[in-house]
Symmetry: C2
Subunit: 407 residues, 2 copies
């Protein structure tokens, strides 16, 4: 596809007014990034795109940067720099590449940074984005899961505002607006239960990646879809919720809700329960994060309870889905245990997608890695992001050893 073809076939955003909100999107070509740009494209007067970044798809990044009139586009993988420069040649969009450039551009002054780089790769750029002290719309799980207290301390130190984008945390964020911490009894996160909700242990052991990737409700990236199948996704969200909201770990419950319509419930001490619902479309929580405390229009399917008819709820089975238990244990252990949990999980999911280990080996790898890191005395409280990254690297090393053992 040529640049001419791109420009010819897609309308560019019009020039923005001075009152437009300036936004950068880290991870622009991913699932959250493209949904964010879809919304922004529908309100081109309301937003001014400063920077778009991607890891490894220079042509797609260039297409988005041109369409949304970004000032700069950054590709993480320097091997793609020439391709990006070529695609942006003559468009007026600046090109940059490399890990340092990702962080530099994240620090550029904006009103909101959509932090949507998947995995531990998102840690440094998202930390960098805090420096401007504006809104961080957080779609990266690892900042809170792995870096937890370090991340929230940095947010507080820089006076930045943290608005979660995950559908469950966005739900809790909306439901908790203005609540006194002492008035909250419980936060209940819902889980779809994933494609293997009703599978027995023997079937789970044999579950193939193509089966795990068939999520019943959401269309997401591969890594998060596997995490939904193991319920590790919900375990990571439990850890995130602990850092985002003024509750203890024991005040956060998980309920399986196969329809994925109710995303979270907040139970108050007067018996009132507030819940947030929406059809599965990430553009709703993204719109909340972009516009809060106002609301912007999102062209999502509207909830039709009569057509749905029935919403069901059941307890999660931690025997078949031990990831939930592991996440609770890591949260209870504290220190770098959640970072080790996450690093080991990321390595194990990659190995599963590469058909090097079985489905149930993902949780086993995580559990053994946590045990191993504990024996090495590597679960101490991290003082800074470097400590977190060291724990993450250790976890991946230990996990790889376990993964080799399964092959």
């Amino acid at each position: 596809m040529t640049l001419q073809g791109l420009q010819g076939s897609e309308a560019q955003a019009p020039r923005r007014s001075g009152s437009a909100r300036r936004i950068s999107v880290l991870g622009a070509t991913g699932s959250i990034g493209t949904s964010t740009l879809d919304l922004i494209g529908r309100d081109a007067e309301g937003f001014e795109v400063v920077a778009l970044t991607a890891q490894s798809r220079p042509e797609e990044l260039a297409r988005l940067a041109i369409k949304h009139r970004a000032r700069v586009a950054v590709i993480g993988d320097e091997a793609h720099f020439e391709a990006l420069k070529a695609a942006l040649s003559g468009t007026g969009v600046e090109a940059a590449a490399g890990a340092q450039a990702l962080c530099d551009v994240a620090r550029e002054d904006t009103d909101c940074v959509m932090a949507a780089i998947v995995g531990a790769a998102g840690l440094r750029p998202t930390f960098a984005a805090i420096a401007q002290g504006r809104r961080i719309a957080l779609a990266n799980k690892e900042c809170l899961v792995s870096a937890g207290d370090v991340f929230t301390a940095e947010i507080a130190r820089q006076g930045a505002e943290l608005v979660p984008v995950d559908s469950e945390h966005s739900a809790a964020f909306q439901l908790l607006a203005g609540a006194e911490p002492g008035s909250i009894e419980k936060i209940v996160l819902t889980a779809s239960g994933g494609p293997f909700r009703l599978w027995d242990q023997a079937a789970l052991e044999a579950a193939k990646p193509e089966q795990a990737l068939k999520h019943p409700n959401w269309s997401m990236g591969d890594k998060i879809t596997i995490d939904s199948a193991t319920l590790m996704n919900k375990g990571l969200e439990l850890i995130e919720a602990f850092h985002l909201f003024p509750v203890s770990a024991e005040q956060i419950d998980i309920v399986v809700h196969p329809q994925s319509i109710v995303h979270c419930l907040v139970m108050y001490k007067d018996g009132s329960v507030l819940a947030q619902m929406a059809p599965p479309d990430m553009r709703t929580p993204i719109a909340v994060a972009l516009a809060w405390p106002a609301r912007m229009a999102a062209p999502t399917e509207r909830l039709d309870l009569v057509r749905l008819g029935t919403l069901t709820f059941e307890a999660p089975d931690e025997a078949r889905f031990p990831a939930l238990r592991l996440a609770r244990e890591a949260l209870r252990c504290g220190g770098t245990a959640p970072a080790v949990l996450n690093g080991a999980n990321e390595a194990a999911v990659a190995a599963y997608l590469g058909r090097r280990i079985g489905f149930c080996d993902i949780a086993r790898t995580v559990e053994r890695t946590l045990e191993g890191a504990g024996k090495e005395g590597a679960l101490r409280t991290p003082a800074c992001l470097e400590d977190v990254l060291a724990a993450d690297a250790l976890a991946r090393r230990l996990a790889q050893a376990h993964i080799k053992g399964y092959q």
Copy 2:
């Protein structure tokens, strides 16, 4: 039961501190009134009871006034004044009686008046309570249904604060806190569907009061229980919601939800839907109305979604339950039509409970009364409460004529 026995068997509230909220309860012996006092009694340091009122149960009123150390107790029916005086003799609680005394005591300075007198009888005392310009916790439906614009204009003129107590409107109130009117797409009120949800037309025609009084979920007064069976209760709530919240009549939907767990949903323009849930116990919305924007503890059953398992939703059937249609038509007609609807309904429900008309004759009576009042040119915009009361009286006269026709 003697006064000595009452004092001996029940602990009195302790003396209150200066920071206690002063509250009066209009309709103290009814369902909402006793639930309010139950909550207040559990937080005796937090509340100072100024006045309690009742229509016709002097001993019960005296018992509550003594227990909660009210300053004054007022009985609406003067025939019971001597009994009230006798029951309060030597207790230090002042006694009063009559319609004027009800209004006088409603005007007494407080922080909050719980306006829980059932039916059109609650209109004058609740209007009187607005005069102090503090919070009106509104449990009486007729103030908004019958007096609508007149009531809200008076609230605005006196700078009073209106907090609804009905579970559905309390839900919407919580869900709409701080929302821009333009961000709201719809408010969805849920209806249990009542005990006759699955009955066919022939069975409905023959439905007996004792069958209609068996509400599937709520324990309430007789009048409101019959209104739940006809769905007129939901029709009245539709009219109330129109006056309470910044939406058009077309933005208010009704959905049947037999479990009565979800009370209301608010749909926003970003696709996000906020819902309020709670097991059926009026102490939750009462606690919200007493403590808002804070929350006070309420000893209600906690929602357990896993134990409930399933929530279902279906469209209401306006053919079998024409009260919903009649309420929408009255709201569309405006003027005194909602007051006529309500007055006619109150007369018809009384006739049904007295076995003078059949179940389906309730809606027929209301419809014919609305037609009759329209023909008399009596549905004009009311200028004041007197106009509303005149329409109410006319509706009752016309309804009685129709009721006689069925006998």
